[in-house]
Symmetry: C6
Subunit: 274 residues, 6 copies
C-alpha cells in the first residue's frame, strides 16, 4: 500500500538499480549506429552534471520515441552507467491505486531523498501515464502535472547535483501540456525501421538460420507490400518467442505476427504521432 510504497523510496546513498536492472532484462542489442549515438549523448549530460566546475547542478533530459522502441531500457542503461551514488526509478507501476496527492507526495519524497546525495539520477518512466493522460476528453491529472513542472525546474540545494531522465511516447502531448519545454534537452529513440536492422536483431538473438531469416523477411515484404519495418524492438522480441511455439513453421509464423504488427501500427501512429 501507500505507506509501504513511501518507505520503498528510502535507499539513500547506495545504488538501488534492481528495478532499473529489471528494465534491461532483454539487454541492449546494437542493431543500428544510433544506439551508440544515444548512449554517447547520455554520457555528455552525465558529465555536465557530475563536474563541479559547471554551473548546472540540475539537468533534465526527455527520452521520447514510439511504443516499445526501448526507451526505458536505454534510460536505465544510462542511469546505471553514470555510477552516481543515488539512482531511482519512478514508475507508474509502483503507484497503482495512488490518488493524485499520493503520487505527488511520492514524487516529492523521491526528489527530497535525491537532494541528500551529492550526485543523483532519477529516471521518471512513462511520464504521460504518470499524469493519467487519456486522449478522450482529454483527461489528465493537473495536480501531478504541475508538481512535475515545478520539480523539473527546482534547483537542488547547495553542493547537490541531480540528473533527470524521463521517458515518453507522447512528445506532442507533453508539449501541449507545456511540460516538454521544461526539459533542458531531449534524446529521440527510434523503431527497428529497415530490413537490415531487423536482420541484425534476428542475427544477434540467434533466432533463425540465415536461410530461414531470409525467408521470414521476404514473406514480411510480400505480405505488407513494403520494405519498411517500423516496429519497436520490444514487440519484435515478443514475436520471436511466439514464433518459437509454432513448431511446424517458425519463420512463417514470425512473418505473419510481424506483418500484423506492421499493419496495426497505423492506428497508433495516427493518434500519437500526427
Amino acid at each position: 500500500d501507500f505507506r509501504h510504497a513511501l518507505e520503498d523510496v528510502q535507499p539513500l546513498y547506495g545504488v538501488s538499480d534492481e528495478e532499473l536492472g529489471k528494465s534491461i532484462r532483454g539487454g541492449i542489442l546494437h542493431f543500428s549506429d544510433h544506439i551508440n549515438t544515444i548512449l554517447d549523448e547520455g554520457r555528455l549530460y552525465v558529465n555536465q552534471v557530475r563536474r563541479k566546475e559547471t554551473t548546472t547542478p540540475l539537468m533534465s533530459i526527455a527520452i521520447h520515441g514510439p511504443p516499445g522502441s526501448g526507451k526505458t531500457a536505454l534510460a536505465a542503461r544510462m542511469g546505471i552507467d553514470s555510477g552516481f551514488p543515488f539512482i531511482k526509478l519512478i514508475s507508474p507501476e509502483d503507484m497503482v491505486g495512488f490518488g493524485e496527492m499520493q503520487k505527488v507526495q511520492y514524487l516529492e519524497k523521491t526528489f527530497r531523498d535525491a537532494y541528500k546525495s551529492p550526485l543523483s539520477v532519477i529516471v521518471i518512466d512513462n511520464i504521460e501515464l504518470l499524469v493519467d493522460w487519456v486522449p478522450i476528453g482529454p483527461r489528465f491529472s493537473n495536480t501531478v502535472l504541475v508538481a512535475l513542472k515545478v520539480l523539473l525546474g527546482k534547483q537542488p540545494p547547495k553542493d547537490r547535483r541531480l540528473l533527470i531522465f524521463a521517458t515518453t511516447t507522447q512528445r506532442d502531448v507533453l508539449q501541449q501540456l507545456e511540460l516538454y519545454s521544461r526539459f533542458n534537452a531531449d534524446i529521440p529513440v527510434l523503431n527497428v525501421n529497415t530490413q537490415n536492422e531487423l536482420a541484425q536483431v534476428l542475427r544477434k538473438t540467434g533466432t533463425f538460420s540465415d536461410d530461414d531469416m531470409q525467408r521470414a523477411i521476404g514473406e514480411i515484404q510480400q505480405i505488407t507490400g513494403s520494405t519498411d519495418v517500423g516496429v519497436g524492438i520490444k514487440k519484435i522480441l515478443t514475436a520471436i518467442e511466439t514464433a518459437k511455439q509454432d513448431e511446424n513453421d517458425m519463420p512463417g509464423r514470425f512473418a505473419r505476427v510481424m506483418s500484423q504488427a506492421i499493419e496495426s501500427r497505423g492506428y497508433r501512429m495516427d493518434t500519437e504521432f500526427a
Copy 2:
C-alpha cells in the same frame, strides 16, 4: 460487501474455476471451423507463457467480438484448459457498488495473488464495463483505466509467469482509450453469420425436426429479406427457449424472435462497430 469481496480473491494455488465454469454453462457448440482456430491460438499463447525457455513471462490477449458472440465462454474454456495452478476471473459482476479506488485495489490484489503462483491465468471480463465506459459524454473511470494500462505492462517477479485474457465488445473504444495497443495479441470472435452456421446450432441443440428447421430458416429469410444472420450464439440460445414456450407455433415464433434480433442489430452495429 467490499471487504468480503477482497477476501474472495484469495484462492492462491489451486484452480478456482467455479466462476469460470459457470460462464460455459451452455457448452461450446462447434457450429463453425473458426471455433477450433480460436482454441488453437489460445493454446499457442498458453505454451509461450508456460515454457521456461521463453523470455516472455507476461502475455496479454484481447478477445473481442460482438455482444453475445461467446467471448466469455471461450476465454473461460482457454483459461481452464491451460491447467495453470492459479486461475481467476475478474468480472464487473463482482464489483457492483465498488468505487473507483476499490476496483483498483481489487485488481491490484488479484494481480498480486497471481504473482505468487509460478503459472497464472487471469481472465478480465468485459473490460469496457470495468472502466465504466458510457459513450455519452463519453464517460469512463480514468483511475481504473490507468491501473489496467499499468498492470497489463507490469513484468511479474522472477520465476513467475502470467497469462491475461480480456474480453470486450468495444475494440475501437479501447483503441481510443489507448488501452488496446498494450495487449500483446488479440483473438476475434464472430457471430453466427450464415444460415449454415445457424442450422448447425439448431441441429446440435436438437431444437427442431429437420422440416421445422427448414421452415424456420426460410421464414427468417422471408421476414428479413436476406440470408445473412449475424446474431450472437447467446441470443440464439435464448430465442430457442422463448420459442419453446409457444406451443402452437414453435418454428414460427423462433423465426419472428430471430428476425427481430437480426433487425434490431442495426442500432448496436452503428454505435459500436462503426
Copy 3:
C-alpha cells in the same frame, strides 16, 4: 431514511405486492386489443423463466412507451399475475435523497434477496429516473447505470430463476446509454390513439351519457383540427376528474382539457421520441 429503506427490502419469500397493487389503483381498462397482446406476451416470458427445463434462468424485459400510457400498471399486473413467491417493485420514489452509492446498494440488496427465492420478479420502474437522466448536459448517474448493466446480465445462482420488468419513456436514451441492448426482449405500450379508443375509455369509466360523449369528442376534433388523440390513459383519467368539477359544462371542459393535452404533446414528442 436510508437504513430504514434498506430494511424495507426484506420481505423474502412471500409476495410483497402492496406497492405493486397501488400502481394499478385505476384498474386496467381494455380500451384496445393491444392490451391483451401485451398481457399474453408477459405470460410467455413468465413461463420461460418458471419452467425448470429451460436454460434461461434470467430474463429481462423492457416495457417502453410514452408518458402516462400505463407502463407501470401493466408491469405490475404481469408481475402479480406470475404468482412468483418473491415480487418486488424498485421505484425512484423509494430513493428520494439517496446518493449514487446508496442507490446501487439498494439495487444490489434487492437482487441479492431475489436470488434467495427459487422464482422471483423484480419490476424496475422508470429506469431513466433511476439513473438521474436529464437531457441538458446530458447528465446521469454513471455509477447506477453501470450497476444496472451488470445486474441485468448477472446469472442467478444455481436453481434460482429471475424475471425482470423495467419501464421507461426513453427508449432511445437507454439505447444511447447502451443499456437497452442488455434486455432480452421488449414490449411496447401505446397511447390512447383513436377516437374509438377514447370512446371506449369514456364508456368503460361511465363518464358521460352517449350524447355528451359524442359532443365532447366532436369538440376535441374541432379544437385540435384532427381525429388523432395520442394521449396516455393516465392523463385522460385525470382530465375526466377535472371535468367533473365543472358543474356547468362537463363535456366542454373535458374537451378543452383534452385538447390542451393533445396540443402540448408536441413538445415532449420532439425531445423524447424524435
Copy 4:
C-alpha cells in the same frame, strides 16, 4: 441552521399560513379580468383534490409568468383560500446555504408531513431557483431536480390528498429539464400590459390625482414611444414608492422609472422567453 430549518417544517395539522400571508402583503389588486379567471381555476383544482369521490388524490399545478407578475402572491392566495388543514410554503429563502442533499431532505420531510394530513397544500416557490438553475453552463442541481420529479408523481398514502402549486418564471427551462410535463395542469400569470391596466393599478392604490395619472401615463408613452406597458405588478408598486420620494415631480419621476423598467425588459425577455 439546517437542523433548525428541518424542525420548522413541523406544523402538522393546523394552518401555517404566516409565511404565505407575508407573500400577499401588497394585497391582490383586480386590475384586470384575468385575475378572477386565475382564482377560479385555482378553486377548480382545490375541489378536484378535496372531494372524496374523485380518483385524483394528487394534483400539481404550475403557475408561470414573467418576473414580478404576482405568481407567489396568487399561489399563496389560492393556497390559503383552500382552507386545507396543512398548508406549507417551500421557498429557496428558507434554504440559503443548504447543500443539495439537505434541500432534498427538506423537500422530502415537507412531503412526508403533508402526507399525514387528510388534505394538504404545498406551495413550491421559484422552482428554478430551488434547482439552482443558471443559464450559463447551464448549471443546476440534478439531485434536487430528480427529487422534485419523483415527488411530483408520488401518490400520497391511502386517504391522503395533496395539492401542489409551484411558481416559475422559466417555463421553457422546466420543459427542457423535463420537469414541466410532470405537472397535471398549469396557470399563466400576466404582466400589467395595457395603459388601462396600469391606470387601474394607479387608481386602486390611490397614487395620483386623475390629472397626474394622465400626465404620467402620457409621459411614459412619449419616452418609450409605445402604448405597451408589460411590467410586473411588483415592479410597478415599487416604482410608485420611489416616485413618492421625489417631492418636486412625483408623476415625472414615476414616468421615468417606469420607462426605464419598460426598456430594460428587453434583456430578460430575450433570454427567458425567447
Copy 5:
C-alpha cells in the same frame, strides 16, 4: 480564519463604518456634475427605505461602472451618509480562503444581523469577485450566486428595513447570470472621460502648476492622438504618485503613465463592456 471572520460580523446596532471609511481614504473629488447626481440618487433610495409610510422595506441598488471609477468609494459615502444604525461592508477581501459554503454562511449571517436593526445598510463590494467569476470557462460559484439571488429578494421581518448597495464592473455578466434583474434599481458610475474632468482632478489634488498641467494634458493628447481620457479616478490618483517620484520630469512621466493606461484600456473594454 473563518471562525474569527464570522465573529467580526457582530457589530449589531452601532455604525461599523471603519472599513467603509477606509474605502474613501482618497476622498470624493467633485471633478464632474455626475458625482452630485449619483449622491442625490443615493439619498432618494435611503429615504424610500427609511420612511415608515412606504411599502418597500427592502431596496437593492446595483452600482456599476468601469474598474477604478470610484464605485466602492461612492457606495461607502452613500452608506455612511444614510446614518442608519447598522452599516456593514461585505467584501471579498474578508473571505480569502473561504469555501463556497463558508461564503454563503457569512452572507447569511450578515443579513440575519441586519434584520435585527430597524434600519440597515449592507454594501456588497465587487459582486463578481464574490461569486468567483472568471470569464474562462466561464466559472463561478453557483452556490454563492443562488444565495445572493435569494437574499436580494428576501423581505426583512416585520418593522425591519434594509437597503443594499452592490458594486460591480461586470454588469453584463450579472445580467447573464440572471442576478442583475433582481436589483430594484441601478446607478452608473463613469470614468474621468474628458480633458476638462482630468484638469479638475489635477487642480483639486494640487498636483501641478497650471503650466505643467497644460503641458501634461497636451502630451497625453499627442501620444494617444485623441482628446478622450476614459480612465478611472483610482488609476489617475496612482499615476500622480508615480509621476511625483520622477524628479527630473514629473509632467512628462505623468503623461507617459496616463497614455499607457489610456491605451491598455482597450483590452479590458473588449472583454468586459463589449
Copy 6:
C-alpha cells in the same frame, strides 16, 4: 509538509533573502541597455511605496517575458535592492503537493506577515504555475486565482506599505483570467535577441576566445539561416555548460545546441505569445 511550510513564512522583520539570493546565482549580466532600464523602473516603484508622503501604500508590478529571459533573477534583484525589512519569495516550488486551499492559506499568511512590517516586498514567482494553469481545457485553480485577485487589491493596514513583484511568461493568459489588469504597472523582460547581445553574453562569461566566438555565432547563423537569436539568457548559460563538455569541438557544439534552441522556440511562441 504543509505545517512545516507555513512555519517557514515567519521571518517577520529581517530580510529573508536567502531564497531570493539563490535566484540570482548566475548574476545579472548587462548584455544590453534594457537591463538598466528595468532596474531603474524598479527603483521608481520602490520609492513610490517607501516615501511616507505618497498616498499609494500598495503597489503591484507584473514582470513578464519569455521563458528563461531572467524574470525571477531581476525581480529578486529589485526586491533585495529595496532594502525593505520584510522580503519574501512566494514560489510554486514551496507548494508542491499543496491543495488549493492550502495554497490560499499560504498566500494569505504571507500577506498577513507582510502587513506586520512597515515596509515589505513580496515576490510572487511564476504566477501562472501558482494558479495551476494548463492550456488544455484550459484548467486552472479558480480558488487561488480569486485569492490573488483579492490580495493584489487589498489595502495594507494603516502605516503599512507593501510592494508586490510578480513574474509570468503568460501575460495574455493573465489578461484572459482578468488578473493582469489588477496590477498597477508592468515591466517587460526581453530575450537575448541580437548577435551583438549574444556576443556580450559570451564575452562577459569568458566562454570563448574571440575567434571561437565569431565561429560559433557564424555557424548559428548558417544553421538557422538568420541573424535573429531570441533565446532566454537562462538557456544560453546552460548551452555554454553543455558545450564545455564536448572537448573536441566546443564552439561547434555550442552552435548546434543554440540552433536547436532557436528552432524549437517556434512551438512555445505559437502557444504562448500568439
